[in-house]
Symmetry: C2
Subunit: 326 residues, 2 copies
């Protein structure tokens, strides 16, 4: 049995707790939290909830610690720190800072002899893998990633910070004509505006100036100014009822050509349709936790990304059983 720890208990931590139940070679040892453990209600009963301060006591009791904190401030500190004691897996998703995070984690994991796998999930994660596979096989061509339709937490937060906004949800939506053009092998050049639209559902405070809020959203640099954005004001009840879930979707496409005169076109498409973004990410983290464990058993140490992990390491199947995939 691979002994799993969960460090941080939000949507992702709850997803890991559920995912462990689906993997018969794993057992959950404890959930670690910076909050008062007595205030934490786990999904299943009988789960040990422990103060984060006591984590060092578990160095010999946990094979892989799965970090479930946020990328902005939690993981940059926690992943290197916990790699001193445990094999670790995280879902660090600030794309631009991955090389720096990788180096920090690598240093600690090499020193402790532990294995770390960072930036696990779907993007970065499975989408990264598919971009790499597709481009390695079809070196001449174009790659496209479309996100949505799904809720962007960062964009929803940005709207909530506007004066007069009580609550908000923002959906990123691919432009169907752009996706179709790529699928047809037309290799379009697509600007930011041509790829995605943004749909905002906003709860305004009573008496707030809705025209001003809409204007502030639509002109917000980086977040909305480069997109065709629609703003719909709704009640808090409607927001929770119709936009309360965390679904997401996305597509990675590669259009490439081969042949003596590049006369043949090939389209590789990978897509995800997820009812629950955090639960799917948790399921990916659990599979890579298995890989971290197996690699460390083989004497490996240091930091890896999904690009470095042999696919067979994710599976609980034996070498003989793996032939069934071929």
């Amino acid at each position: 049995m691979i002994r799993i720890g969960i460090y941080g208990y939000g949507n992702l931590g709850r997803g890991i707790e559920c995912a462990v139940q689906q993997n018969s070679d794993m057992t959950l040892v404890a959930v670690f939290t910076r909050r008062d453990p007595s205030t934490i209600k786990t999904v299943f009963s009988g789960v040990d909830v422990v103060s984060a301060g006591s984590v060092a006591d578990y160095a010999d009791k946990i094979d892989v610690m799965i970090l479930c904190g946020g990328s902005a401030t939690d993981l940059p500190v926690q992943t290197p720190e916990l790699a001193k004691l445990f094999n670790v897996v995280d879902s660090f998703d600030t794309h631009a800072r991955i090389p720096e995070h990788f180096a920090n984690v690598d240093k600690e994991a090499k020193a402790s002899g532990k294995t770390a796998i960072i930036s696990v999930g779907w993007d970065p994660g499975l989408f990264s893998l598919n971009r790499l596979y597709a481009e390695s096989i079809l070196p001449e061509g174009n790659s496209y990633t479309f996100w949505g339709k799904g809720i962007s937490q960062g964009h929803s937060d940005a709207i909530r910070r506007i004066d007069g906004v009580v609550d908000a949800r923002q959906y990123t939506v691919p432009v169907p004509a752009a996706v179709e053009s790529v699928r047809n092998g037309e290799n379009p050049e697509l600007t930011t505006r041509m790829k995605h639209t943004r749909e905002c559902y906003v709860v305004a405070a009573e008496g707030a100036d809705k025209a001003r809020i809409e204007q502030e959203i639509k002109t917000m640099p980086n977040y909305f100014a480069d997109y065709d954005t629609t703003v719909t004001f709704i009640s808090q009840e409607e927001l929770l009822e119709k936009h309360g879930g965390l679904p997401h979707q996305g597509i990675v496409l590669r259009s490439g050509s081969t042949g003596a005169n590049k006369e043949n076109t090939h389209i590789i498409e990978y897509s995800l349709k997820l009812d629950s973004n955090p639960e799917f990410t948790s399921s990916a983290l659990i599979a890579y936790a298995r890989a971290a464990y197996k690699l460390n058993q083989k004497g490996d140490s240091g930091c890896k990304s999904v690009l470095d992990i042999p696919p067979s390491m994710l599976s609980r199947k034996s070498n003989e059983e793996l032939f069934s995939y071929l």
Copy 2:
């Protein structure tokens, strides 16, 4: 530069010749053939064509030999034999015999200190990878593979063996309603007949009994009897004009559930649309040839499948450049 050899020169060998041109870290040393080398016309001029009997003279001149023979009789003999002298890559695709082929190649490659990667292509190959990734991440659910619309060489050959048939092409076609049901997360149970139909285009000899030919096709065990099959008689000219290419397509789908009560459904879909089946397979072989070379440089030996290869090994990018995929 990775020095490539091509062993066997048909559609796949020609595809490799083109693919080498698209990979600036590779160079083609020679094409090996069992035919009279003077009768071989290569795609590009200036390519050395050498008798297969002289292959041992190239042991120090080629880094990876790509085997382009057939799975029925060529590869079971050639891949183990050439693994005595070279790192080798093949596209062995007789699914049921892969474990046996793997063992034979592994024995020779371990003895010679060479690296071998077998069963590279799209199925087995990229589809195998996607079945493994998807099932490892969503352990509870169902997997589906649909092939087509595309030409099946084996089924076309089977029709050609019928008395009175001059030529034939057979398309395997997925049933749209079955694909949609899987995409909708309905987890259907699908019989053979519910998944694919078979479309046959047949050139009959003058005066042949077409009704008898059609009946023989539709009742042929294993190949057609379990499918809804249509037979269309056309002229040789029309066959070559409209059905002369080798396009193919396919889809791998995984529908899985997560959550405390398995209440959330996720769909992972991987699809390929290929103008040229052999050229795409060649492109995959070239990427795995790079991996075989890199692994061997690291001291690896023995046989591997695509499931065992770290994705980053397929790329010509540096470790720093690989971060761009994340």
